[in-house]
């Protein structure tokens, strides 16, 4: 075969392969939107489920998911950024830091149901938080940690070394240098990574299954030691546990969940583009 033909065949194969990536995304979205869009209205988003969840809205689940992800990020963001700053700016190349780094990589690979069991054992039982929002937030926070730490380290790493040198040469201490020079310049990267990690855990069912999620609650949670409903778990039960469930309701719930995740991803992309345009070094 002459090289030109070979090249044409190769490029065509590569192009088709790339197209195949888009197909499932489009297909999933199309099905969910087609089946679920009809039910989305203000009432659906803001009212309680009725009639054994076969009617009414999904407000408690939306609220629960918002509470869980914001609570989780409030725990994981400070810890993750502190860890990333320590690893990147203070700790040198020592056996201990290498082990920590390895642990973080492995943490990212742990299956989500294992996080759920771990959360059940540590937060629900050992620390006696009970099945509660706080236990769920902690579990999700641990899941977010590796992503936040890795993204933050990358962001810190991308701050030019010369900025640190100048700051130190002007008599700033290492901490002043980190606070005034390194962190502000790493912030966009840290924010992007954090939002992506939040988007990832927002749709997780397994970690909240044993730690916080309620099948049905007639009232909204009143404290962090209450259980709450949450979108992924709600979706799971209405699609598997309840007979005669209106199809529309299931797909409408899925559409709300996927939209929340998309909005978060979009926010991350917007932040990244905005700062990439602004960043000039």
């Amino acid at each position: 075969m002459d090289p030109k033909t070979a090249q044409r065949i190769a490029f065509t194969a590569l192009f088709l392969g790339t197209c195949l990536v888009i197909v499932p995304v489009v297909f999933v979205l199309a099905v969910i939107v087609k089946e679920g869009a009809g039910i989305i209205n203000w009432n659906f988003l803001t009212t309680q489920p009725l009639n054994g969840m076969r009617a009414g809205g999904i407000f408690p689940a939306i609220l629960g998911t918002l509470i869980l992800v914001s609570g989780a990020v409030m725990i994981s963001l400070p810890i993750g950024v502190l860890a990333a700053v320590y690893l990147n700016e203070y700790a040198g190349e020592r056996p201990l830091t290498r082990i920590i780094r390895l642990a973080i990589i492995n943490l990212a690979g742990v299956p989500s149901v294992v996080y759920g069991l771990f959360g059940l054992a540590l937060f629900v039982m050992f620390l006696q938080f009970g099945v509660s929002i706080i236990a769920g937030c902690c579990t999700l926070a641990i899941m977010e940690l590796p992503v936040i730490i890795t993204a933050s380290r990358e962001a810190l790493n991308s701050v030019p070394q010369s900025f640190r040198e100048v700051s130190l040469s002007l008599g700033a201490s290492r901490w002043q240098t980190i606070r005034n020079v390194v962190l502000p310049n790493a912030l966009p990267g840290i924010m992007t990574g954090t939002i992506l990690s939040v988007a990832r855990v927002a749709g997780e069912t397994a970690p909240i299954l044993f730690t916080v999620a309620a099948f049905y609650l007639p009232h909204l949670p009143r404290s962090i030691f209450d259980q709450t409903m949450a979108l992924p778990y709600h979706l799971y039960i209405i699609s598997t546990q309840i007979p005669n469930m209106p199809r529309e309701l299931t797909f409408g719930t899925a559409l709300v969940l996927i939209s929340m995740v998309f909005i978060m991803n979009l926010a991350a992309i917007i932040i990244r583009v905005y700062f990439r345009r602004k960043k000039l070094w």
Partner: protein
């Protein structure tokens, strides 16, 4: 880090000066009158791991003069410069023996404040490296870090510093624009202003013109000559003509040793050492 500290008592007056500065933040530190702006090394050795980068360097740099350090690449001139403000501390596996005495105090003695040392010994780098902040924020960085000024005084320091590098007139209406919009030469002047704003006694310059075109270089050289009435300036340069043009004293380094140090005219016209003569006449390097 094993450091030989032959003069531990030297640091004492640094500490008392620190206390003094804490009482009166706005006034510059006052070293002993005869030591102001003086840098002295005695038998200075520096090792990167097993590599012997500085070998027995003894030099006395005089105040209110421009001293240039010349020599071929890798001779240790930048390393020497960076011992004067302890920037080499950032490199792992570094070992130093001997003394570096800045304004009468042994800066490698335990208990010496690196931050206070670097406040007194400013540095300008090879590539202009302003922070991605406004012009004002760049110049105000040092004074803010050292809490040298209240709100009202900060503007005064910024203006003084920009005037000293002849940027005030062109930038006074652009103080709150990003420093990254400036030309390369303006950026380097801004970096000098940023170093000056911390009110140092000594300015270290590590090939400050090597990123600039010849015209900008000439103007920055002119600026340095103007600044020497107020600062001790030590400049490392690849450019022998530059050393000859602007410096009062010249040191020639080769393979980690200070081969010759003296009045610039003497070093360039009647070098005492054969290697110096070979280098400045272009036979190697």
């Amino acid at each position: 880090m094993p450091l030989t500290t032959a003069l531990p008592d030297r640091c004492d007056h640094v500490m008392t000066r620190l206390e003094y500065s804490a009482k009166d933040q706005s006034s510059a530190l006052k070293p002993p009158p005869d030591a102001a702006g003086v840098i002295e090394t005695q038998g200075l050795n520096l090792y990167y791991g097993t590599f012997h980068a500085l070998i027995g360097v003894t030099i006395k740099i005089q105040p209110r003069r421009i001293t240039s350090i010349i020599g071929p690449s890798g001779c240790g001139k930048s390393t020497l410069l960076r011992t004067f403000n302890r920037m080499n501390d950032l490199i792992e596996g570094i070992q130093i023996t001997g003394n570096v005495i800045v304004e009468g105090a042994n800066i490698y003695a335990p208990g010496c404040s690196i931050e206070q040392l670097r406040k007194r010994v400013g540095m300008v780098f090879q590539r202009p490296n302003p922070f991605p902040l406004t012009v004002f924020e760049n110049v105000a960085f040092g004074p803010r870090v050292h809490k040298m000024a209240g709100r009202g005084e900060l503007m005064g320091i910024v203006e003084q510093s920009l005037r000293a590098v002849l940027l005030w007139d062109s930038l006074k209406d652009r103080l709150h624009r990003s420093a990254l919009e400036l030309s390369l030469e303006e950026k380097q002047r801004l970096c000098i202003a940023r170093a000056i704003a911390a009110k140092p006694e000594i300015l270290l310059m590590d090939e400050p013109c090597s990123a600039l075109d010849p015209i900008a270089t000439a103007r920055v050289e002119e600026l340095m000559t103007g600044l020497k009435s107020r600062f001790t300036i030590v400049i490392v340069t690849h450019n022998m003509q530059q050393a000859a043009r602007i410096s009062d004293d010249t040191g020639f380094m080769l393979l980690g040793e200070l081969i010759e140090f003296g009045d610039t005219d003497q070093v360039f016209t009647a070098p005492r050492n054969e290697k110096t003569e070979q280098y400045i006449t272009g036979r190697f390097g």
